[in-house]
């Protein structure tokens, strides 16, 4: 994590920052699936030596707002999102964006890079989307990290039910989440498919409410005794 020089803003200050980015006066947080995970990471979890890789580079307004709130990104840069000479594009570029540690936007790249970084012993957090997990490249990283017990790696999957073909759920004949029996649905919606897949590959997996800061903090705080890579599925509103 690239450290801030000053930290002056809090969670409640994010809406006006988002307004500067998008031009919209009001913001329903459901429009920003990653907002609360990003906030908890940067506010409570990430240490100076940790690395954060945003693999899900789509819709980075929440990312830019959190970076700005934490003093990593000058707030004056928020006003020209997508302009020719702006460092802020619709996908983050680590060469241009202060605080960004990986350039993304093409899905399915971040987890492999995170695994490479974690091989050095660095603690790495990688944020993905449930639809992003469609990309087969993710599963090469998942399989490898699980086999070698890459315990310094944490994958956070934002689950807003946007994977087109869904996930295999116990009790589902067709394998689609919507077909699951009610008893197989988790506390925050259709559950299990993502976690089971990671668990099968040797990861420790857990599903939490992606809007609940306490749950997120508890799940994301490092586990020094852990011997496996971790997958935290953060459930948010359906896209």
């Amino acid at each position: 994590m690239r450290m801030a020089t000053t930290t002056t803003l809090g969670y409640d200050d994010l809406p006006p920052l988002l307004t500067r980015l998008t031009g919209d006066e009001k913001h329903d947080r459901s429009s920003f699936s990653t907002l609360d995970v990003l906030w908890v990471l940067y506010d409570r979890v990430l240490g100076e030596d940790d690395r954060f890789i945003l693999s899900k580079g789509h819709g980075p307004a929440a990312y830019y707002a959190v970076l700005a709130a934490k003093g990593l990104l000058p707030t004056e840069l928020l006003d020209d999102l997508g302009a020719f000479d702006s460092p802020l594009g619709h996908h983050p570029d680590r060469i241009l964006v202060p605080g960004a540690e990986f350039s993304s936007g093409s899905l399915g790249h971040g987890l492999a890079v995170a695994a490479g970084s974690a091989l050095t012993g660095r603690r790495v957090f990688c944020l993905l989307g449930d639809a992003e997990l469609d990309e087969g490249s993710n599963w090469e990283a998942v399989q490898y990290a699980g086999r070698v017990g890459l315990s310094s790696l944490t994958a956070i999957v934002i689950d807003n039910d946007s994977s087109f073909h869904g996930w295999p759920v116990a009790g589902s004949v067709a394998g689609k989440a919507d077909d699951a029996r009610p008893e197989d649905r988790g506390a925050f919606g259709t559950a299990g498919g993502i976690e089971r897949r990671f668990t099968l590959e040797g990861w420790a997996a857990l599903r939490v409410d992606g809007r609940d800061h306490e749950q997120l903090e508890a799940a994301l705080m490092p586990d020094p005794a852990g011997e496996r890579p971790r997958c935290i599925v953060a459930k948010v509103e359906k896209k």
């Binding site: 020719f84 570029d93 060469i95 936007g105 093409s106 639809a131 469609d134 087969g136 087109f164």
Partner: protein
């Protein structure tokens, strides 16, 4: 939605209804616009699978169309283009959107000015770069009616008017021995404007593979200077011109998108100008080259 993209979706929906050979494979781009159909298969965000599935459909006798943004159609599944389609000698129609820099605000991940060079590096592909929606319409229908491997590159950039079919169409004749300026696809309007006061021959091509080598020689006549203006990676077809003119001295200026990381967003017009592909930029380069 841009004119070429919208026309492509219209034609694809119609083709699914009218031709039982046609099947469509998408990966979450254009899925809703094409709509549900028993032979429209959206595989999720899985572009390598998209090309593999298209090859499988071709193996069963279908005429598959695969579609996405340029980088996700060509770059990500490149080995599937090479092997699943090419090496297995299976046909498909690949239709891209986004061109070199249509997705300006999206950044580098959604831009692929190297796409034509990549496809051109594989044997047996036909590559079309239409400069007008009516040209895109004709080339798409032509591709669907065949059984080979075709890459159709759609763009937001477009010329003021369509050009009638031809391998290489001479639109302005210079005097004998005049330099030849070759405009590819949507660069034509800017090329015509940039050279309006010059004694040059202006030719237009939309099909860059196979490249019209003989037609280029004919258009150049006794001249020695060639300017090639491509809307993608500069010099993509320079080797074709070198082969076409291999037995005669010549000079070539190849204009296009530079081979460099371009870390800007903004508009297509801003990118075009920054790459020297707008009217002023082409005029400037031609002046430096021809004097």
């Amino acid at each position: 939605m841009t004119a070429m993209r919208e026309r492509f979706y219209d034609l694809t929906r119609a083709a699914l209804e009218e031709d039982e050979r046609v099947a469509v494979v998408t990966a979450q781009i254009g899925t809703e616009a094409i709509g549900e159909h028993p032979r429209h298969f959206d595989v999720g965000i899985r572009e390598q699978l998209m090309i593999g599935v298209a090859a499988g459909l071709a193996l069963e006798g279908y005429r598959p169309i695969a579609h996405s943004y340029t980088p996700f159609l060509v770059e990500r599944p490149y080995e599937m283009l090479k092997l699943d389609l090419g090496h297995n000698d299976l046909g498909a129609v690949l239709v891209s959107i986004g061109a070199s820099y249509d997705a300006t605000a999206e950044g580098r991940t959604h831009q692929a000015p190297e796409d034509v060079a990549l496809v051109a590096a594989l044997p047996g592909w036909t590559v079309h770069v239409p400069g007008h929606v009516d040209e895109a319409d004709r080339l798409f229908r032509q591709a669907l009616g065949g059984d080979g491997r075709t890459y159709l590159r759609l763009s937001e950039e477009t010329n003021h008017a369509r050009v009638e079919p031809g391998w290489l169409t001479v639109l302005r004749h210079g005097s004998p021995g005049a330099p030849l300026v070759v405009a590819v696809g949507p660069t034509l309007t800017s090329v015509l404007e940039a050279t309006s006061d010059r004694d040059v021959t202006v030719a237009y091509i939309v099909t860059v593979r196979p490249f019209p080598r003989d037609e280029l020689r004919d258009a150049l006549g006794t001249g020695t200077d060639v300017v090639l203006v491509e809307p993608y990676l500069a010099g993509t077809s320079a080797s074709e011109i070198a082969v076409a003119l291999r037995d005669r001295p010549h000079r070539l200026l190849a204009l296009g998108v530079p081979n460099a990381e371009f870390r800007h967003y903004g508009t297509g017009a801003e990118h075009r100008a920054a790459h020297g592909l707008d009217t002023a930029g082409i005029a400037r380069s031609v002046e430096e080259f021809l004097g």
